[in-house]
């Protein structure tokens, strides 16, 4: 079952691959074709609605309705491009910064925000949405993706697992183990690194001496693909290509998407301590939404009415989310004991009874 692939094709391009540049012009440099107009419009719609979700979530932290929120503003192209490239049968393994991707995948936003709201569980049903729980430890989800993809392949399915990770997570040991094992097993996994420049406060230069993170692919025996992560069309195409490789049994792909985290790490972070405004401003000029909007308008695929309709959809959804999050959450302390094991142990049953007694005494 040895697959011999010329590793020459595994090196990333010198310049990041790009289909629609920062000014909204289609480039001719890349051999890949632009996605169909329906896909481009969907990318724009999901990014617009996603950005509105993101600002709403940040606002909810200020109102005390969310314990914490790590914003993905600026990373909309990655969040949306990956989801539109996936089939329903594929599995997504997200991190805590990928709420927008989950909402784009069709998961109820209230469920997506359950953990960040302060509950103990992930909110949604991983099997219903083929989406792992949002992973808080860094890089550990990469291995879950490899295991699941391998099991799917053993079962004869053509399911691909897509795992999201950040630039900081590439320094973690689990990323190394996952890339290596995925390559050895030829597991159908797509590793999408959203390189947003910082791991909280630590810049990429303090994470790696590699020319790019995509260069790491060849060392493991898989293609490393470097893309403009603010070009939603490019993210969609690159992830689609990598998923197709996986489906054909050609193994894993590492994609590095260059993007930028416009907001601080979370609402609790102060980004002014480690980066200056000029840097943020320079990235605002490469905004993923405005470039696709310009392209779509130039091509006559989107007009002011269309843009307004999408904005309205974002507002409606944000209002619905606000209303849902303003209702006090219903929690049941008894459930803390219910799922530690598939059957509660005698000790847990007795602790649950103890807590129930305490609560009954307080209530009386």
């Amino acid at each position: 079952m040895t697959v011999v692939t010329p590793s020459a094709g595994f090196l990333p391009t010198t310049a990041p691959r790009c289909l629609i540049d920062a000014d909204g012009h289609a480039t001719s440099a890349d051999p890949a074709r632009l996605p169909d107009r329906e896909v481009l419009l969907e990318l724009f719609r999901l990014m617009s609605v996603g950005r509105r979700f993101d600002t709403q979530a940040t606002a909810l932290t200020k109102q005390g309705r969310l314990a914490v929120y790590p914003s993905a503003r600026g990373q909309e192209a990655c969040q949306v491009g990956v989801v539109t490239a996936m089939a329903q049968r594929d599995w997504l393994f997200p991190t805590y910064r990928d709420s927008m991707a989950l909402v784009s995948r069709g998961i109820n936003p209230v469920e997506v925000l359950t953990l960040l709201r302060g509950d103990w569980h992930c909110g949604y049903d991983p099997y219903l949405h083929r989406t792992g729980p949002q992973c808080t430890p860094l890089a550990t989800n990469t291995l879950h993706a490899v295991g699941l993809a391998h099991a799917a392949r053993l079962a004869g399915e053509d399911t691909v697992a897509v795992v999201l990770l950040g630039d900081g997570a590439t320094s973690e040991g689990d990323t190394h183990e996952a890339l290596n094992i995925a390559a050895v097993w030829q597991a159908p996994v797509v590793f999408l690194v959203q390189n947003n420049g910082y791991a909280i406060s630590v810049p990429l230069a303090k994470q790696t001496r590699a020319e790019t993170l995509a260069h790491k692919g060849i060392g493991y025996g898989m293609p490393g693909v470097l893309i403009d992560g603010n070009d939603a069309a490019m993210v969609h195409v690159a992830v689609t290509e990598a998923i197709e490789r996986g489906r054909r049994g050609e193994g894993p792909t590492l994609i590095e998407a260059l993007t930028y985290r416009i907001e601080a790490h979370t609402n609790a972070d102060d980004a002014s301590r480690y980066r200056d405004d000029a840097e943020v401003t320079s990235w605002l000029a490469r905004d993923p939404l405005s470039r696709l909007q310009t392209y779509l308008q130039d091509q006559g695929l989107l007009d002011e009415a269309g843009i307004a309709a999408i904005a309205d959809e974002g507002e409606t959804r944000a209002a619905r989310l606000r209303a849902a999050m303003n209702a006090d959450p219903v929690t049941d302390p008894a459930e803390l004991f219910a799922n530690i094991y598939t059957e509660p142990t005698a000790a847990l049953r007795s602790q649950a009874a103890e807590l129930a007694e305490e609560l009954a005494a307080e209530a009386s």
Partner: protein
């Protein structure tokens, strides 16, 4: 939970390693969702030969060598279990499991709860543990305290070959993640494998009945406790021996019933004593047996030192003599005045 096998064809006499091998083979045969992987488990059959012949019989899709990556082994097992498989993975030696600590404690133990019961992870992590085989550093640790203090994990340790066979089959059939501690110094001890399990998965067993004192242990200490009971009998002390088998969940019922009757107990393990598993057992017994106790619960454990080198390990491991001494200290004669707190225990001194 899959149906636990209740009977086996006549297996005859097997070593513990042989019994574990047979349990893996029987589960691989009974359930095609079971797969076995780890370092050197395929062609070599494992460094202790526990997986000998399995790759040849079941093929490389079900029994295979992984890269040398313990976190990777456990992390991928989680993903496989999410897809419906029942992986049984091997950590080659106890201390080699530490790179997998985060995957085990932060994910394997928690995902069932994190997903409100939607994800179940029937993963068995086999860990050869403990010393007594002349192993060099990092090859003889007893890591049970880490695992038992992690909610969501089940932890079992067989003390006999027959239990090894049945406990491993029960562990593989269990829908919760199980840390399966194999006492490596007992791998070569041979006995007849019983035709059915000696007890439920999480039940402790009275290995020898007695009236004067209860000796409590698990895994590698079980034969040592039985030897101690023999020696105590010659001194006129009737010792009951309890083999815990399951460290977590803990079978309070069996242990408490014994100690309430004997009024004295010694807890024994190879791992260091400070904040060790024995401390939990002593605390539980004090809480539940206080009025029947004639003496404080005794503990005989490894010293609070890194596992010693092969030339010195005999001084570290709980021996029959050391356990007998602990039994002697249980105030059978209440005219003896015990020494007060030993000198030199002030941490600031």
């Amino acid at each position: 939970m899959t149906a636990v096998a209740e009977k086996a064809e006549k297996l005859g006499d097997l070593t513990m390693a042989g019994a574990l091998n047979r349990a893996l083979a029987d589960e691989l045969r009974a359930d095609d969702r079971v797969l076995v992987y780890g370092e050197d488990v395929a062609a070599l059959g494992g460094v202790f030969r526990v997986t000998d012949g399995l790759a040849a019989e079941f093929g490389e899709r079900r029994v295979f060598d992984s890269p040398l990556a313990e976190s990777g082994i456990v992390g991928t097992a989680i993903g496989m279990a999410m897809h419906g498989l029942r992986p049984v993975v091997e950590m080659q030696f106890d201390a080699f499991a530490y790179p997998a600590f985060e995957q085990i404690t932060s994910h394997l133990a928690k995902l069932h709860n994190r997903t409100r019961g939607r994800i179940t992870l029937p993963v068995v992590i086999r860990i050869p543990y403990g010393g007594g085989i002349g192993g060099v550093e990092h090859h003889c640790d007893s890591s049970e305290a880490y695992w038992v203090s992690t909610p969501g994990l089940k932890v079992v340790a067989p003390g006999t070959a027959s239990d090894a066979y049945w406990l491993l089959r029960q562990a593989i059939a269990c829908d919760d993640p199980v840390i399966f501690l194999e006492p490596k110094r007992r791998y070569w001890a041979k006995e007849e494998i019983s035709a059915e399990p000696a007890a439920q998965f999480h039940q402790a067993l009275v290995r020898r009945a007695g009236d004067d004192v209860t000796l409590i242990g698990y895994g590698s200490m079980v034969p040592t406790l039985l030897e101690t009971a023999d020696a105590a009998a010659q001194d006129g002390i009737s010792a009951e021996v309890i083999d815990l088998r399951s460290l977590s969940p803990f079978d309070d019922q069996t242990v408490v019933a014994s100690v309430r009757r004997t009024g004295r107990a010694v807890v024994v393990h190879e791992a260091s004593g400070f904040a060790g598993f024995g401390a939990e057992i002593a605390a539980r017994l004090t809480e539940q047996c206080f009025h029947q106790l004639h003496a404080p619960i005794g503990r005989v454990t490894g010293f609070d030192i890194p596992y010693p080198p092969p030339m010195l390990e005999k001084h570290h491991l709980p021996s029959v003599d050391r356990i007998l001494d602990a039994v002697d200290r249980l105030q059978f004669d209440d005219t003896v005045v015990l020494p007060s707190t030993p000198a030199g225990t002030d941490p600031n001194a």
